[in-house]
Amino acid sequence: MKTKAMNICIGIMMLLGMGMAAEAGSTANAEPQFEAKEIVSFAKKVEKVLASKGARVFVLSRVGRPVDELPKGIQYTHTALGVYSMIKTADGREIPGYAIYNLYQREKEPNISDLVMDYPVDFFGGVYELKAGIVIPTPELQARLLKVIASNTYRNLHNPVYSVIANPYNSKFQNCTEYTLDVINAAIYQTDDVKKIKGNTKAYFEAQKVNISPLRLMVGSIFMPDVKTSDQKGGAKTATFTTIAKYLDKYDLIQEQMVIVQ
């Protein structure tokens, strides 16, 4: 009886959990939270502000979950790099614009990630707030970032084994912010050596403490394939947009940082 009851409970949890995940708002077929014209207008506004400031490369973040559901200390759910680019269109023209370089979880295998390029309107397609956190690095760091992004190092730094709370101090798992940080440190130190990148991350980068109880994390790691804790020691920590901004600011590597809202 006990086993049967437990099985039913787990079944209900999994069913409800799957339903919840499907409604999480960031999946490929998720309904946008805003009117299309609002998203299009906001994405273009972000592009124009960045272009007016001459940003070739910038760190960009979005709010992909309802704000009241975010753990304390987490303001954004996804971080990527924006790159001023020549965009070749399907009808054969070349136009200037920003391409966004993302590490995305797979929709059907959330414990695996891919490197995906998209564009601002795609990036903001499912956000819960028309709000973008932006850091424009110094010109020297932008130039170094461009070189990394255009090299094999960019792809070589990708670890497809995903954890939403990946520890940025080691290479066991990776999430979007850790990957962004790895690319930034590869640019700063002009290296593709992951050990050197992680060594400097440990020495100079202060990660965000994950303010979720160990019990909840344990339950999450049991039932959610993209929540892993085996890379953590002494309290979970992860990289966030905010901690990346603080890190770059501390070492005078920011030209300008801003929050753009609609």
Binding site: A21, G25, A30, K37, I39, P71, A99, P110, D122, C176
Partner: protein
């Protein structure tokens, strides 16, 4: 015993739901729904609502474009690539998006 199990289950479900707040942060926000919706309302809905699918995007370095298509760049883009970092940049009024997913493209 059964009641106890239900209480434990409810607690676990509650914790599990809270956990979901951390999830799905990095999944791909599809622009498709936005694109098709915007197309449906027509270009007049927003001044910059013209949607254009991209084939490729090449970063523009201060010393020129990177990649095999750099030789195909138009003059204005070559000039933009050679401007010092920090100078205002041109940006198209068109809204660029990724192409449709394979299942949508084949319909």
């Amino acid at each position: 015993m059964k009641k106890k199990m239900v209480i434990i289950s409810a607690m676990l479900v509650s914790m599990f739901f809270t956990q979901q707040a951390m999830a799905q942060g990095s999944t791909q926000h599809s622009g498709q729904a936005v694109k098709y919706s915007a197309l449906a309302v027509g270009h007049g809905a927003v001044g910059s609502a013209k949607m254009t699918s991209a084939v490729v995007a090449v970063p523009l370095l201060a010393v020129g474009a990177v990649g095999a298509v750099s030789a195909e760049m138009g003059k204005s883009l070559v000039e933009a690539a050679n401007d010092p970092i920090g100078e205002p940049l041109k940006i198209s009024d068109e809204t660029i998006t990724v192409g449709p997913t394979p299942d949508q493209a084949i319909r």
